[in-house]
């Protein structure tokens, strides 16, 4: 287990290297001079020169790349062109809402999809199973922003129970924090629920016909215990990896949901920065989100290894 953990940690290094190369290249992919693009067409020669110097664009590209890597490693992601604040500070300020949103969504996903999967598996011989399969297929076919619009329509107009825009930090009280987040977190979760519940169901259905469940039944254990304890424990292990996938969906989804529900998180920062052509911030956000994603996948893999005794005791 220790060796596995170390190996898994080391494997992050090349991945993050490639990630930083891609993020670095983002700016250099832009057609024409980035400084020119940032400042607009009617800017003066001097101000362009100045910005080029500030961004280091006047140096050879290889030098720029190593400067950029060096800066990342020292925690310096550059300066926002829009607000002149350090990028790390800008991102850090926006971190709370995004983290809250994702955490609540993840809780929603697990709380909704696990019971659904168990229920569907318990009812596997009824018409419920094909109905579930069709609904889960429908679930992955609905664009989340459209689903969000429908909910805004339902809750903003027809049943105005929840607010459809805004955010309250948790410091202002857990209740108002939850109150503002429930709807966006639900939308964000809803899209992933179909997928996760489906994966859980497939895993449980596979486990249910394994030899070991027959052994458990032969002991005289009741069917509900067979399902909830033995089948579920086995299905849960491969599902941890699915949670990794769900997090990827959530990270992409926050961009849309934060924009729609005007939540001042990292996703909204990214969209705003794209409109403002604030490249250092765009790079910073993309780099940080990918780093989080890689880190979560690492944790998921370690959790997987920990949950599965075949790996834990190897």
């Amino acid at each position: 287990m220790l060796q596995y953990t170390i190996r898994r940690f080391i494997s992050v290094i090349p991945v993050m290297f490639i990630v930083s190369v891609i993020v670095f290249l983002l700016v250099h992919l832009t057609p024409g001079n980035p400084a020119y693009l940032i400042l607009g067409e009617d800017s003066s020669q001097e101000s362009i020169k100045q910005l080029e110097q500030q961004l280091g664009l006047d140096k050879p590209i290889v030098v720029q790349f190593f400067d950029w890597i060096k800066n990342i490693l020292t925690g310096d992601l550059g300066q926002s062109i829009y607000s002149s604040e350090p990028v790390t500070q800008v991102i850090f300020d926006r971190f709370g809402p995004t983290f809250s949103l994702m955490l609540l969504s993840l809780i929603f996903i697990l709380v909704i999809s696990i019971p659904i999967a168990i229920f569907v598996v318990a009812m596997r011989k009824t018409i419920l199973d094909p109905i579930f399969l069709t609904i889960s297929l429908l679930g992955v076919s609905i664009p989340e922003f459209w689903f969000a619009i429908l909910l805004v329509l339902a809750f903003g107009v027809t049943f105005p129970i929840f607010p459809v825009a805004g955010y309250a930090p948790i410091a202002e009280g857990v209740f108002s924090w939850l109150y503002y987040l429930i709807l966006p977190a639900f939308v964000l979760a809803a899209v992933e629920v179909g997928l996760i519940a489906r994966m859980l169901r497939d895993g449980m259905l596979e486990s249910i016909n394994q030899d070991y469940t027959r052994t458990v039944r032969a002991k005289g254990v009741r069917e509900s215990t067979v399902l909830m304890k033995h089948v579920f424990a086995n299905a849960l292990i491969p599902t941890t990896t699915v949670v990794g996938t769900a997090v990827a969906g959530l990270l992409g989804g926050t961009v849309i949901i934060e924009t729609l529900f005007t939540i001042p998180g990292i996703g909204q920062l990214l969209i705003d920065s794209i409109y403002r052509r604030d490249y250092p911030v765009i790079q910073g956000v993309v780099l940080i989100i990918s780093a989080i994603y890689v880190l979560i996948n690492l944790l998921v893999d370690l959790l997987y290894a920990f949950l599965d005794p075949r790996i834990r005791y190897d």
């Binding site: 057609p31 297929l137 609905i142 664009p143 805004v152 497939d202 849309i256």
Partner: protein
């Protein structure tokens, strides 16, 4: 039986949508581009089946015409990702040395949530249809590469491949004549799913305002425009959304159907394979 009917229904629906949107100018009673400020935000009626938008344009016609961009983006992205992913996957699965480098790059690309990668690429390149196709291809082809590679690794040591190698067949022949036909089914299935995902992603990009030029009717653009009118003209938001759902759903049903047709126990087998691979990895990595 139920599934077969479902697949046929989905395929017919997809063909109908394609036919309707390509021949739209021949049969649409109202021009989707005709602006009539006196007819702003009308609810659905006999004249305007889906109502009108904020410029008084016919939403039914616009919804039909908007399918062009979605289908175009979907087809091109899924084709290019499939070809690119298949080539890289075949090479990577077959040549060990290339594999090491290629997989590090692919892993790096997979470290971005797909939508985020597409979003930042479009932000860098600018939002034309071509750039969106490029961005989405980069976002989706790495998954295809992974799938093709693992399929190749599965069959690489099988007897008929070994036999072909000993008869002195060239690598190209082995890859194209022996490998490719045997990894084709996961490729086609994944290609269909990429088609669906690309349509969703294009709509999301346009909706966020970083996609296709707002003057071109696309479902994402329509939803973006409709957003501020959602309380007074809900039909403006509802119909383009339904169009996306139907199109993507038909593709997902087809993908599912193709997977079942190729392999009735696909979900189970894939997971077993996955588990086995996982365990192998661990033992190879050397336990205590």
């Amino acid at each position: 039986m139920f599934k077969k009917k479902r697949n046929i229904l989905a395929l017919s629906l997809l063909l109908l949508i394609s036919l309707a949107t390509t021949t739209a100018s021949l049969w649409l009673p109202l021009s989707p581009a005709y602006i009539d400020p006196s007819q702003r935000l009308l609810s659905p009626s006999e004249t305007y089946w889906f109502g009108t938008d904020d410029f008084g344009r016919d939403l039914f016609g616009r919804t039909i015409v908007a399918a062009r961009v979605s289908l175009l983006v979907g087809v091109v992205v899924s084709l290019v990702s499939t070809v690119l992913g298949t080539i890289v996957g075949l090479v990577s699965g077959y040549y060990k040395k290339a594999d090491f480098i290629l997989m590090r790059i692919i892993d790096g690309m997979l470290a971005f949530p797909a939508l985020l990668l597409a979003l930042s690429l479009v932000a860098a390149l600018g939002g034309s249809i071509t750039n969106i196709i490029i961005a989405l291809t980069f976002a989706f082809f790495p998954v295809m590469t992974r799938i093709v590679r693992s399929a190749v690794l599965q069959i690489n040591h099988l007897q008929y491949i070994e036999a072909a190698k000993t008869t002195g067949a060239s690598d190209i022949v082995i890859l194209l004549r022996y490998m490719l036909p045997n990894v084709l089914s996961p490729i086609i299935v994944q290609g269909t799913f990429i088609f669906a995902k690309a349509i969703l992603a294009e709509a999301a990009l346009s909706f966020l305002g970083v996609g296709v030029n707002p003057s071109i009717p696309t479902w994402g653009n329509m939803l973006q425009e409709s957003q501020i009118y959602v309380t007074i003209a809900p039909w403006f938001s509802i119909f383009p959304g339904i169009a996306i759902v139907i199109t993507v759903l038909t593709l997902n049903i087809l993908g599912d159907g193709i997977r079942d047709a190729f392999d009735p126990h696909s979900t189970n087998r894939k997971k077993k394979r996955f588990l086995r691979r996982r365990n192998q990895d661990v033992t190879l990595n050397g336990g205590s």
